[in-house]
């Protein structure tokens, strides 16, 4: 599987996302230096790197939270470098967050319904008169779509629960559900498995693969668990101190001496006969 040719996924020749030489500075700190890469439609593309390498900053540039000082980002044939975050959601970019970012006081259902925001047409006025003017009909249609997502992520039992009361693992799943409800072309996942136990990780990996293969979503994933990354990614990019130091098939990246050097002393990438390679060949 480490060849990156998972059966089932259909990867297009054309690129969906084009990141071209972006640099991002916070005062004197260079969080990203001239990073460029492309992600093709249908790909599951992983970004790895040591803590503070700039992975989250990169996702933030793509989703619009940060504006890079240099470089361009093109998505689906459109230059989005200066587009506002809410417009990017409508353009088809969804994301989850490294630190949970649910709407804590809302129900799980409402959280996920917010994901439909850009697809819904009812407004303040038609919403207030719910029964007349079509808001009810539209809401119920979208409720159906949301229920499909709820079924897929197996969170039916908590759909009415207040998001803030859920366990960590469930919250991560609800966050994914909310992003999926957006019906994005590209979904950005920032450490979707962090803090999970083995069983939860396996579930999450399965959801991600299904999203990619069955729902046809292009995915960029940041993840520290090398076993999972090597197992499910088509391609991997490595960041270190804000620079891209490698990009390629999982096996190529793993064999890259620069990558080994970057991870030297880090216990989660044990090369050669370590647990990572075992996980990959398993």
């Amino acid at each position: 599987m480490s060849t990156g040719k998972r059966p089932g996924a259909s990867i297009a020749d054309s690129s969906l996302l084009n990141v071209d030489g972006i640099s991002l500075r916070f005062g004197g700190l260079k969080a990203l230096s001239n990073v460029g890469f492309s992600v093709r439609s249908g790909e599951l593309f992983s970004v790895i790197g040591p803590n503070g390498a700039g992975k989250t900053s990169l996702l933030n540039c793509i989703s619009g939270r940060y504006s890079p000082q240099e470089g361009r980002i093109a998505f689906d044939g459109q230059d989005i470098t200066r587009l506002k975050p809410n417009k990017r959601a409508a353009a088809g970019i969804g994301r989850t967050f490294q630190n949970l970012a649910l709407f804590h006081h809302m129900s799980v259902l409402d959280n996920i319904m917010v994901g439909r925001h850009h697809l819904l047409k009812n407004n303040l006025f038609t919403g207030a008169i719910y029964w007349i003017g079509g808001a009810q009909k539209e809401e119920l249609e979208h409720r159906k779509a949301v229920e499909d997502v709820i079924d897929f992520l197996e969170i039916q039992h908590v759909r009415k629960a207040t998001a803030g009361t859920l366990s960590y693992g469930l919250r991560k799943r609800v966050e994914l559900a909310r992003a999926v409800a957006l019906q994005p072309k590209l979904i950005l996942l920032d450490e979707p498995m962090a803090g999970m136990n083995l069983e939860e990780k396996e579930d999450m990996a399965r959801y991600i693969v299904d999203l990619n293969e069955e729902w046809g979503m292009t995915i960029i994933m940041i993840e520290h668990d090398m076993g999972v990354v090597m197992d499910i990614s088509h391609r991997v990019m490595v960041l270190d101190f804000g620079r891209k130091i490698a990009e390629g098939l999982p096996a190529e990246v793993l064999a890259n001496p620069n990558v080994r050097k970057a991870y030297l002393g880090e216990e989660d990438l044990v090369v050669e006969d370590g647990p990572v390679l075992q996980a990959v060949s398993a």
Partner: protein
Amino acid sequence: MAIDTMRPCGDYRTSYRADQTIFDTRLTFAFIVGGIILLALAPLVLSNYYLSLMIQIGYLGIAALGLNILVGFSGQISIGHAVFFGFGGFASAFLAEHGVPVPIAIVLAGLWTTAVGLLFGLPATRVKGLYLAIATLAAQFILQDFFVRAAWFTGGSSGAVAAPFTILGFDMSGDTRYFYVVLVFVVVMYLFAANLMRTRDGRALIAVRDHYLSAEMMGVNLAKYRTMAFGISSFYAGIGGALYAHYIGYMSVEGLDILFSIQFLAMIIIGGLGSIMGSLLGTIFMVLLPELTGALAGILQGSAIDRALHLKDGITYMREMLIGATIILFLIFEPDGLAHRWKQIKAYWKLYPFSY
């Protein structure tokens, strides 16, 4: 699993439609409808004094709901709600004087107040928290000053006459009849709000409150919804103020001060931030509070406490102190307000005798 609904067990939904109702059980629905019918019968049995209290609860409750949409639902703040209430009153009196039928004048006054509220809500697109609070405080003083100066609009210091409420030539003034006018407005305005909160724009408001960064990533335009909350809030304040003006028959700048604005805040804190019914409960509480203090002072009359504190002269101070103390007590002991307590009582009775 932590399922946080307080619905009786065994109450399953068979369609999404049934699952999306405002009233979570048939019992609640029956309760609310029954309550409205009972209220409609109230003028037959209640004295004008109690009717006037209920009318007060009505127009203040509408304005309080508006403030709750801004503060409780969208997570912003306004320390100037009273002036929007006042603006609605003046605007409706002004429109009625220029020949607009009163029912239409009230609605137009609401819209006019919305426009003003949007204008003063513009800072919300740039600032949050304490800075926004100061900006709304500015609105309080600017509009209060405007009311004094703009005699063409407000009648200056002598105030403006507000025409009596007539509909199709039928006079609806007087406690007994005006009660129905206010009841209709309360029901409609509360239904609007309940509907709003279960549809797209209402959810977006709450999302902005709970986590604005991820709301934006979900496609919500922050500036739009922050300002919109001010608009909705002012609309409700304006309608409330207009109902007040045509009830009293007169609108003056007096009383539209910051203390009144703080009383609106007290209503929603006591009732429950982010709760629609809580807005009404808090208003009931605040309207009945002076009645209570009055009664209390009556009971204590002549006693040692009365002699020591001069209750009779101090009653207005006592009232203000009591409001302050109540806000603090609620913030400490019941931060979710009366609405939360109400929910628990409801849940208890629904499960009775199998409460667990």
